[in-house]
C-alpha cells in the first residue's frame, strides 16, 4: 500500500505544482516567451499526469477523504490546511488538470504580448482552481475561491477584446458581491457552530454536523446560494457571463467555461445544500424553477445571437441548468448525471471555445454572418466542429448525452412521486427541461448551418491566400478533447463508480434534517 502513504504527498505536489511553475517562469523566463510557454505546458502536463495517477489510485469503495493532508494553520480560528480527494472533487480535479495543458497549447500562438505574465496568470489561476476543489476547509476554500478572481481579472483585462476592461470589471465586481455576502455567512456559520458545539473549526466534516434553525439556515443558504448562483451562472444573475466570454481571450473563455463555472455548481453540491439541508428543501422549488428558466432562457438567447462566442456563452448557461436540476432532484441518478454534466460541459464548451478561437485567429471576426461553407474550406476543422456541436446537443455516445440524460432522468424520477402526491411543479419543470433538448438542437444546428454549410464565405480568405486548416497542434488538442468526450459518453461507468459514494453522501446529507431539536422545522416532510 505504498501509494497510500505516497498519496498525500502527491496531492500536495499536484496542488503546488503551478506555483513552482510560476517561480520558474519568474526566474528563468521573465523575458523569454517560448521558454515561458514550454515551462507552463510542461508543468501542466506533469500536473495532469499526477492527477491521472491519483485518479487511478483513488479507491471508489473507501468512504471519506483520501490522500488527505491536515495541518493546523491558523489555530486561533480553528483554520487548518486540510486538503483531500473524495468523490465530490475527484472528477473536477481531473478535469481541471486535463484542461490545463490544453489551455496553454491553445494559447500557444494567439497570445502575443506579455507572454510570460500570461503564463504566470494562467498558472496562478490553475493553482487557485485546483485549491478550491481540493480544499476541505471552508476558510481555505474561500481563500482559493476569491483568489481565482484576480488572475482571471488580469487575463480578461490584459489580453481581452475591445471592451475588455468593462467586461472584466463587471465580472469581478459581480462575483465579488456574492463572495462578500458569503463571507458574512461563513463567519456566522462558524461562529454558531462554535456556540452550539464548542468546536472552532472550518472543516467541512465538522460543519456538516452544525445544527441551525430553519430561519438561520435560510438566510445563510441565501448568501451562499447568491454567490454560487452568480458563478454558475443562473438566470437572472448571468449578465456578466456573455460579456466576460466575448471579451476574454480564447484561453480565458476556455478556463472560464471549462472550470470556473463549475465552481458554482460544485459549491452548491459541496456546501450550499449539504450545509443547510432544511433550507435547501425550502429553496428547492425556487432554485429548480430558476434552473429550468436558465435552461430555456439560455437556449432561447443562444438561438438569436449573432456573435459566435455569445452563442456558446449562452449555451453554457443552458447546460449548467441541467446540472442544477440534477443536483436538486436529490435522486442518485440525477446527482450522478449532474456531476457528469459538469465534466462534460467542461470538455464540450472548452472544445467549442477553442474552435471559435481558432477561426477567430484566422479571420478576426466573431460575426456569425461573416462565415459560411467552412465545411468545404476547412474539412478537418468542420469535422471537429460537428463533433463538438453534437456533443453539446447531447447526442448519444457523447458525454453530453450521459450528463443530460441522467440529470433529466433524475429530475423526472424525483418529480413523478411528487406528482402522485399532487405537487405538479416538479413534473411541469421536468417536462419543460426536456424540451430544452429540442431548443439545444435548434440553436446549435442554426450555428452549424450558417457556419459550415452554404456558399464559402470567410473574411481574409482569398483564392491566393486560402485559410489554412488546423495545424497539428490544434488537431492534437482537439483530438484529446474528442477522445475524452467519447470516453465519457460510451464508458461513463468508471467515472460514475468513483463518484457514487459521494453522491450517496450528498443525498443523505441533504435529506436528513439538521435543525436543533424542538425547533418547528425539526420534522422533515
Amino acid at each position: 500500500m505504498s501509494e497510500f502513504t505516497m498519496g498525500p504527498m502527491l496531492l500536495n505536489l499536484l496542488l503546488w505544482l503551478p506555483m513552482v511553475g510560476v517561480g520558474l517562469v519568474l526566474l528563468v523566463a521573465r523575458a523569454n516567451d517560448t521558454r515561458s510557454r514550454t515551462i507552463s505546458v510542461a508543468i501542466m502536463t506533469l500536473q495532469f499526469a499526477l492527477a491521472t495517477m491519483l485518479y487511478r489510485q483513488f479507491d471508489a469503495t473507501a468512504s471519506g477523504l483520501q490522500f488527505a493532508t491536515h495541518l493546523p494553520w491558523i489555530a486561533q480560528w480553528g483554520v487548518s490546511y486540510l486538503i483531500g480527494l473524495d468523490g465530490f472533487n475527484i472528477l473536477l480535479v481531473l478535469l481541471t488538470a486535463f484542461l490545463g495543458p490544453i489551455v496553454v497549447l491553445g494559447a500557444w500562438t494567439s497570445i502575443k504580448k506579455d507572454v510570460p505574465l500570461f503564463h504566470v496568470m494562467v498558472l496562478l489561476l490553475q493553482f487557485a482552481m485546483m485549491g478550491a476543489f481540493v480544499a476541505q476547509d471552508l476558510f481555505l476554500f474561500y481563500l482559493f475561491w476569491e483568489a481565482m478572481l484576480i488572475p482571471m481579472f488580469l487575463i480578461i483585462g490584459m489580453w481581452g477584446g475591445a471592451r475588455r476592461v468593462y467586461a472584466t470589471l463587471k465580472f469581478v465586481l459581480y462575483t465579488a458581491f456574492g463572495s462578500i455576502l458569503m463571507l458574512a455567512a461563513v463567519i456566522y456559520l462558524v461562529h454558531s457552530l462554535q456556540l452550539s458545539s464548542g468546536v472552532m473549526s472550518f472543516a467541512f466534516a465538522d460543519l456538516y454536523r452544525s445544527q441551525l434553525p430553519l430561519s438561520v439556515q435560510t438566510i445563510l443558504l441565501g448568501a451562499f446560494a447568491l454567490s454560487f448562483a452568480i458563478k454558475v451562472p443562473m438566470v437572472p444573475l448571468h449578465t456578466w457571463l456573455p460579456d466576460a466570454h466575448v471579451e476574454a481571450p480564447t484561453a480565458g473563455s476556455v478556463i472560464l467555461a471549462g472550470v470556473l463555472l463549475k465552481m458554482g455548481t460544485y459549491g452548491f453540491m459541496r456546501l450550499g445544500f449539504p450545509l443547510f439541508p432544511d433550507a435547501a428543501r425550502a429553496f428547492t422549488p425556487l432554485l429548480m424553477t430558476l434552473a429550468v428558466v436558465s435552461i430555456v432562457y439560455g437556449a432561447c438567447l443562444a438561438l438569436v445571437q449573432t456573435d459566435i462566442k455569445k452563442i456558446i456563452a449562452y449555451s453554457s448557461i443552458s447546460h449548467l441548468g441541467y446540472v442544477m436540476l440534477g443536483l436538486l432532484s436529490v435522486e442518485l441518478v440525477g446527482i450522478q448525471g449532474a456531476i457528469i454534466q459538469m465534466v462534460s460541459h467542461g470538455l464540450v464548451a472548452a472544445g467549442l471555445f477553442l474552435l471559435v478561437g481558432m477561426i477567430y485567429d484566422r479571420c478576426h471576426t466573431r460575426e456569425l454572418a461573416a462565415y459560411g461553407g467552412l465545411a468545404r474550406l476547412l474539412p478537418v476543422y468542420s469535422v471537429f466542429f460537428m463533433i463538438f456541436t453534437l456533443a453539446s446537443v447531447g447526442l448519444p455516445t457523447t458525454s453530453g448525452f450521459t450528463g443530460e440524460f441522467l440529470a433529466l432522468m433524475g429530475a423526472f424520477t424525483a418529480a413523478w412521486p411528487a406528482h402522485l402526491d399532487g405537487n405538479q411543479l416538479p413534473l411541469v419543470l421536468a417536462v419543460i427541461a426536456v424540451t430544452g433538448v429540442v431548443l439545444g438542437a435548434m440553436y446549435m444546428l442554426r450555428f452549424a448551418l450558417t457556419f459550415l454549410f452554404g456558399d464559402v464565405k470567410a473574411p481574409h480568405h482569398t483564392p491566393e491566400h486560402p485559410l489554412l486548416d488546423l495545424s497539428v497542434r490544434e488537431k492534437s488538442i482537439l483530438g484529446l478533447l474528442v477522445i475524452a468526450v467519447f470516453a465519457l459518453g460510451l464508458f461513463p461507468d468508471g467515472a460514475l463508480q468513483k463518484t457514487e459514494l459521494a453522491a450517496k453522501t450528498y443525498q443523505s446529507l441533504v435529506t436528513t434534517s439538521r435543525t436543533p431539536a424542538g425547533s418547528p422545522a425539526g420534522v422533515t416532510p
Binding site: 493546523p72 494553520w73 491558523i74 489555530a75 486561533q76 480560528w77 483554520v79 506579455d114 505574465l117 474561500y142 481563500l143 476569491e146 483568489a147 478572481l149 484576480i150 481579472f153 488580469l154 483585462g157 490584459m158 475588455r164 476592461v165 472584466t168 470589471l169 469581478v172 465586481l173 465579488a176 458581491f177 462578500i180 455576502l181 463571507l183 458574512a184 463567519i187 456566522y188 462558524v190 461562529h191
Partner: protein, 461 residues
C-alpha cells in the same frame, strides 16, 4: 518606583530620545546630514528590538504609578509600530536630505510610544500632542508645492480643535469622577450621568478626529495630498495606528453597549461607505489613499464592538496588515521631478510595461487593502468582523462587509491603470530610490509573512 524599572520600562522611549539627542548634537556640530538617516534608523531599530525583547521576556512594570505602565502586550504593540517606522525612514531617503526629518519622526514616535502605556490622561494628552505636533512640521518639510503650507495649516487647526475637544472631555470627566486616570474612562462609559456621558463622547470624538472618521475626516484628504510621500505614509499608517492604540487603551477591558456602541457602529459604518465611495473619482494617489484610510479607520473602530479581550489583538493585527501593504505601495512608487506627477494616478498608466516590479507590488498592496484573499488585508478584516459577529452585531458586520465591497472598485481601478491601460512614462520618471526599494522588499516580506503565517503572527500578538 525603582529606577531600574523606570529604565527598562521606558527603554524604547529612552532609545528614541537618545537618537534625537544624538541627531540634534550632530545637527549643531553641523555634520552628517547624510548619516542622520542611519542614526535614526539605528535608534528606531534598537528601540523596536528592545520593545520586542522586553515583551518576549514577559516584562511588565508600573514605574510611575497611575501615569505610565507597560505590559508584554503593550510592548509588543509598540514594537510592531516601531518596526513599521523602519520602512518609512528608508523611503524618506529620496525626499529628505537633512536631519530634521529624522528628529521630528523620532519625536513623533516617542509620542506614539507613550500612548498605549499611558495610565493618566495627562500622559495621553502629551502623547497625542507629541505625536501630532512634529507632523505639522513634517507636512511642510519636503516643501515641494505651495499647497503643503495649506495642508499643514488645515491639519494644525483641526487637530488643535481635536486637542481642545479631548481636553474638554477630559476635564468634564475629571469633574465627574474626580480622577485623571485612564481607568476611570471604562466605568464612565456605563454611567448614566449626562455630564459623564458628554465627557466620554467628547473624548471619543477627539480620537475620531485624530483618526479621521466621518464627519471629522475632512482634514485627511487635503493634508495627505499636500504632504510628501513618506509623511503621508507615516500619517496614514503609524499616526492612525497610534490613535487606535490610544483608543484601545481607553476602552481596555470594557465591552461597549447602548448608545455608545451605536456611535461606534454608525460613524465607522458611514466612514467606510464615505471613504470607499469618495475614493472612486480621485486623480491624486495620496488623496485616494487618504479616503481609503478613512474607510479603514471605520473598520478599525468596528473592532471596538467586539469583546474587550480580543480587541488589542484585532486592532494591532489590522493596523500591521494595513500599514505594511500601504507602505509597500508608497515605497515602490516611482519617482518624478514634480510632486504632482509623482502623485497623480495617471502617472501609473501602463506602469507594468515600464516597471513590472513596482506595478506588481502596488497591485498586491491594492488587493490587500481591498481585503481580497489571500492577502493579509483579508485575514485582518476577517478577524475584526469575526469578533463583531461574535459580539452579536451581525447586521452591522454584514453592512460593514457590503461597505467594504464598495471599496473593491477603486482599488481595482488602480490595477487597471497599472496593467490594462496604455500610457507612456513622464520624461523624468525613475524607479524608486535604492533605500525605498529596500523598504519595499521589507514590506513585501512582511506581507508574505502575514499572508502565509497569520496564525504565527496572531500567536505573537
Amino acid at each position: 518606583m525603582n529606577p531600574q524599572d523606570a529604565l527598562l520600562a521606558m527603554l524604547p522611549e529612552h532609545l528614541l530620545l537618545g537618537g534625537m539627542v544624538l541627531l540634534i548634537v550632530m545637527g549643531i556640530v553641523g555634520r552628517g546630514a547624510r548619516s542622520a538617516l542611519w542614526v535614526a534608523l539605528g535608534a528606531v531599530v534598537a528601540s523596536c528590538t528592545a520593545a520586542f525583547w522586553l515583551s518576549h521576556a514577559q516584562f511588565s512594570a508600573e514605574p510611575f504609578a497611575g501615569q505610565f505602565s507597560v505590559t508584554p502586550a503593550v510592548l509588543m504593540a509598540k514594537g510592531a509600530l516601531l518596526a513599521l517606522a523602519v520602512p518609512v525612514l528608508l523611503m524618506s531617503r529620496t525626499e529628505f536630505s537633512d536631519g530634521e526629518f529624522s528628529i521630528l519622526l523620532l519625536s513623533s514616535l516617542y509620542g506614539l510610544c507613550l500612548l498605549p502605556s499611558s495610565d493618566s490622561f495627562l500622559v495621553m494628552f502629551l502623547g497625542l500632542e507629541l505625536l501630532a505636533m512634529p507632523v505639522y512640521a513634517l507636512v511642510l518639510l519636503a516643501f515641494r508645492r505651495p499647497q503643503s503650507a495649506e495642508a499643514a495649516f488645515k491639519y494644525l487647526v483641526l487637530s488643535g480643535a481635536a486637542s481642545a475637544t479631548f481636553l474638554m472631555g477630559v476635564s468634564l470627566l475629571y469633574g465627574a469622577t474626580g480622577s485623571m486616570s485612564v481607568s476611570a474612562f471604562g466605568p464612565a462609559l456605563a454611567s448614566g450621568d449626562i455630564m459623564t456621558r458628554t465627557a466620554v463622547v467628547l473624548v471619543l470624538l477627539a480620537l475620531f478626529l485624530k483618526a479621521a472618521v466621518v464627519p471629522f475626516h475632512a482634514w485627511a484628504p487635503d493634508t495627505y495630498e499636500g504632504a510628501s510621500i513618506p509623511v503621508t505614509a507615516y500619517m496614514a499608517t503609524l499616526t492612525k495606528g497610534a490613535v487606535l492604540l490610544a483608543a484601545v487603551r481607553l476602552f481596555s477591558g470594557v465591552n461597549v453597549s447602548g448608545s455608545l456602541a451605536q456611535l461606534l457602529m454608525v460613524l465607522p459604518l458611514v466612514s467606510i461607505v464615505w471613504g470607499n465611495l469618495a475614493a472612486i473619482k480621485q486623480h491624486s494617489f495620496r488623496r485616494m489613499i487618504a479616503y481609503s484610510s478613512i474607510a479603514h479607520a471605520g473598520y478599525l473602530f468596528y473592532a471596538f464592538l467586539g469583546d474587550a479581550d480580543g480587541r488589542l489583538q484585532a486592532v494591532l493585527f489590522y493596523v500591521v496588515a494595513y500599514s505594511v501593504t500601504n507602505l509597500l505601495a508608497f515605497a515602490v512608487l516611482p519617482q518624478n521631478d514634480t510632486d504632482d506627477q509623482r502623485d497623480s494616478l495617471d502617472a501609473l498608466k501602463g506602469l507594468y510595461h515600464r516597471n513590472p516590479f513596482a506595478a506588481a507590488m502596488i497591485a498586491i498592496a491594492m488587493l490587500s487593502l481591498a481585503g481580497l484573499p489571500p492577502f493579509p488585508g483579508f485575514a485582518a478584516k476577517f478577524l475584526i468582523f469575526k469578533n463583531v459577529v461574535a459580539a452579536g452585531y451581525t447586521t452591522y458586520a454584514v453592512l460593514g462587509l457590503v461597505g467594504s465591497y464598495l471599496g473593491i472598485y477603486f482599488y481595482l481601478r488602480v490595477i487597471q491603470l497599472l496593467f490594462m491601460t496604455a500610457g507612456e512614462a513622464a520624461p523624468s520618471e525613475r524607479p524608486a530610490g535604492g533605500t525605498a526599494r529596500v523598504a519595499g522588499v521589507l514590506c513585501l516580506v512582511g506581507t508574505l509573512v502575514l499572508a502565509v503565517l497569520p496564525g504565527w503572527v496572531l500567536g505573537a500578538l
